[in-house]
């Protein structure tokens, strides 16, 4: 072994040792904190679901495999009749994936929604976690479309110019940019709630619109 090889082996070995100790320590910490984090996440989900409907009206969750936005749904209703669905949704915001829970009537109308795990910007996109943020979507999805632009929120624009991006995950990057940064930011109208956090709003509204389409499809098939 040459001198330079010895130096490389020595240096690499020391870095490897530092990394190994760090990885082992973090692995041990993860073993301690992981059950706590998972329990907290499940408790939060159950708390949100319980706010939507009484426990005896909520059916068992059904996993959805073939939809990138809808992860699972819970039928809601008494006896054999289904009155609505609670959907576990994934949207894409400024900081990556966001988890939402939304309660829909069988017509696809949104009755309630809440944003759970997300990495949105504190003070901006994080405001979507507040219950009041979701009120702008409540009552939409049935006769009125889910608002996906600021014009639709303020009622000053033509809702038809920006159709709900159902199947938005299949859109090309260019068309998403054009939809998010083009039509949305040129909006003359505005809602204080979405100011400075257009991408969060777009992610939330797109996921909710996808949920509406999913529920309509499910209802038309008579599924529960």
């Amino acid at each position: 072994m040459t001198a330079s090889s010895r130096v490389v082996a020595n240096t690499g070995g020391r870095l490897l040792l530092i990394c190994a100790v760090a990885a082992l320590s973090l692995g041990a910490l993860n073993e301690v904190t992981e059950p706590q984090i998972e329990a907290r996440r499940l408790a939060e989900q159950q708390q949100v679901i319980a706010q939507f409907a009484t426990a005896d009206a909520i059916g068992d969750p059904v996993a959805v495999e073939d939809n990138l936005t809808v992860n699972a749904y819970y039928p809601v209703g008494q006896g054999a009749s289904t009155d609505g669905y609670i959907l576990d949704l994934t949207g894409i915001g400024y900081g990556g994936e966001m988890q939402l829970f939304a309660y829909y009537a069988t017509s696809g109308e949104i009755r309630a929604a809440r944003l759970l795990d997300n990495l949105e910007t504190p003070g901006l996109g994080k405001k979507a976690e507040g219950p009041s943020y979701m009120e702008m979507f409540v009552g939409t999805g049935g006769d009125t479309p889910v608002p996906v632009t600021k014009e639709m929120l303020s009622g000053s624009g033509d809702a038809g110019t920006a159709p709900p991006p159902v199947g938005w995950r299949a859109m090309s990057r260019g068309s998403i940019d054009s939809w998010v940064f083009g039509e949305q930011t040129q909006s003359a109208g505005g809602a204080d709630a979405v100011s400075g956090a257009t991408i969060t709003f777009s992610g939330v509204s797109a996921a909710l619109a996808e949920g509406t389409a999913f529920v309509r499809d499910l209802s038309s098939k008579g599924g529960n």
Partner: protein, 222 residues
């Protein structure tokens, strides 16, 4: 030795004097509670990284010092992140991605590179404490200014029935919203930096004046 602790508080304040760590200062200073939480996280990571960098300074070869420091810093950040997620979920949610971004906070790598790898463990710990508290002080001052003027509130930790929000009459109904936006953060940091420079200059002039007076007094005695 005590100077290693006090220098970071005002004289070499990392945000207001050295102008380091501006990204988190801009991003999380929308609410006082975020500033305090971020400050606590940075103090912990600074303490841990300075301690270990100082302890391992003879073990880590010079050629791999930066990757080694990053591994040490990232480990402490992950500890903060996991502990916050498990035991302080509301704070973790509030700080979001900025906890992970402590890894690239230039104050932490800066202190490891400029101080901890050249000094003893005791001095490095004092330096970390001073710089961490100085960072927290500056961040809290920025957040307090932005939140009071921009939202008319002071958000602290919720306790029992109290939601932790102090609403200021008058300001909460007609706040200067621009201060809560990124542009407002830059404005506030700019004005606070100017204030810190002015105080620093005045202290320097007063110090020089005192020295002159001392010299004159010494000459007259002689």
């Amino acid at each position: 030795m005590l100077q290693e602790f006090t220098k970071g508080l005002i004289k070499e304040n990392p945000v207001l004097i050295i102008v380091l760590g501006l990204c988190p200062a801009l991003a999380v200073s929308t609410q006082v509670v975020n500033a305090l939480g971020m400050g606590a996280g940075v103090i912990f990571v600074l303490l841990g990284s300075n301690l270990f960098v100082s302890l391992l300074k003879d073990f880590i070869p010079d050629t791999i010092r930066i990757p080694s420091y990053i591994v040490i810093i990232a480990s402490f950040v992950t500890i903060v992140d996991l502990v916050m997620q498990a035991y302080a979920p509301s704070l973790s949610k509030s700080l979001g991605v900025f906890v992970q971004l402590i890894v690239v906070n230039c104050i932490i790598l800066g202190r490891a590179e400029a101080f901890a790898n050249k000094n003893t463990v005791g001095r490095s710990v004092l330096d970390a404490l001073g710089m961490g508290i100085g960072f927290t002080f500056a961040l809290t001052l920025i957040a307090l200014t932005r939140e009071v003027l921009g939202a008319g509130t002071i958000t602290l930790f919720p306790m029992g029935e109290w939601d932790g929000i102090v609403r200021l009459p008058g300001l909460s109904t007609s706040p200067a919203r621009v201060l809560t936006l990124p542009a407002g953060a830059l404005l506030v940091i700019g004005y606070l930096k100017a204030l810190a420079d002015w105080i620093d200059r005045r202290r320097g002039e007063e110090g020089a004046g005192d020295e002159e007076q001392t010299e004159v007094a010494e000459r007259s005695i002689a």
